[in-house]
Symmetry: none
DNA sequence: AAGACCCCTGAAGCGACGCTGAGAAAGCTG
DNA sequence: CAGCTTTCTCAGCGTCGCTTCAGGGGTCTT
């Protein structure tokens, strides 16, 4: 246990260094609760857990309709353990001891596999292709920088809804971003110049004191 | 088990003497992993396996979209086993005990049958033949090293989609590769010099901050 | 009408990102 | 073992994008 806690802490540090946000549960039940309440991108589940063991947590989650990909960690390399792990609904398993690199690669593969392609976002004749990272209006393609694209995407994903600058910063910028919210103004300005002005339209509306809205 | 391991080793020696390259998995799950990651020309699958049994491995592979021909080995000669084997997606089965010559003949037949004329990957007039490990643009053939080919293949398999360096590393390099992602930059640079520049085109687009995209 | 507040946008510094040539290390071939 | 190929690292350099700042305009309140 002592050992496990250390491994868990190390894994957490590693993942956070990679830019992931990590919630750590000390026991099975806590983990189950967390997973039921949050929409995680992936769950790493140790079979040996105080309280509910990993199989049970996994089973309970699947029974609950939680579809989040699960990576199971098992200490034994017994045959049945692996099969059972997959049977209860885990998407992958890893036998201890494992290298951190292998762990990371598996986790990434899991997350990638679960990502739905999400074809094309549209707002009027404005279109956004997240997979190809392309954007355009009608037949014309528009070149956007990474940030511009992220901000526009954020807006297009919530058409007709007013998004505060705070919210846009939260969604687009890193957690650690400590600049001013006014950065959003700058990007909206640049976006309008690229996706609106040349086409004589105005799809991003300013709602004074509240934020911005993508007209649908 | 002991027995099986000896048979497996013998088969391996035999096949390697024939000029095949053989990967041997000690258990079902390892086999499954290997088969998911590599593009084998054929898979020989024992039903009696430690860990996942042959049926499950077979099923999992097919569910995963792996189309590699599978030759199933069964110890029993009961009809149902055979039927079940074929049901789960195996292409042929062989009942133990069998002679090595019969085994070899079946395997060859399987490989021959599966050689589809041209699963040729294309992107514009750029073509890639994974089976023959060849590549070219229009009528001109281009010589690529193993890595170059793998990177290009990765890109061509997802035309129009932006692939991050991280993802390319994950797909092309060993799972435990711990070098820098910038290695991808080097290979893209070399690829462009071979498949783009001589033809005055630019098929691999850099998407700053996001990755690379194969133009389709 | 004046002031306060909010938003727009052009300019500019600087840091990050990507490209490429050189070369070391490892592997293969004869 | 020598010579070749392949793979990977490193560092320099040019470019691009991110962010901040400041000045100006618009809008609402008092």
């Amino acid at each position: 246990m002592e050992d496990d806690a250390q491994v868990a802490a190390a894994v957490r540090r590693g993942l956070e260094a990679e830019g992931y946000t990590v919630d750590l549960a000390p026991d099975g039940l806590t983990g189950l609760r967390l997973a039921q309440r949050h929409a995680y991108r992936a769950i790493v589940l140790d079979i040996m857990l105080p309280g509910l063991n990993g199989y049970k947590v996994c089973e309970a989650l699947r029974a609950d309709g939680v579809a989040t990909p699960i990576l199971m960690l098992t200490a034994k390399d017994g045959e049945y353990d692996e099969a059972e792990g997959l049977d209860t609904g885990a998407d992958d398993y890893l036998t201890k001891p494992f290298s951190y690199l292998v762990f990371l690669a598996r986790l990434r593969a899991l997350i990638r596999r679960s990502q739905t392609p999400g074809p094309l976002l549209r707002a009027g004749d404005l279109w956004l292709d997240p997979a190809g990272r392309r954007c355009g209006r009608g037949g014309a393609e528009i070149t956007l920088t990474e940030r511009e694209f992220a901000v526009l995407r954020c807006l297009v994903e919530h058409p007709g809804e007013v998004l505060s600058k705070r919210r846009i910063v939260d969604e687009v910028w890193d957690i650690a971003f400590d600049g001013e919210e006014s950065i959003v103004e700058v990007y909206v300005s640049m976006l309008r110049r690229k996706v609106d002005t040349p086409f004589g339209v105005r799809s991003i509306t300013t709602v004074r004191g509240a934020g911005y809205r993508m007209e649908s």
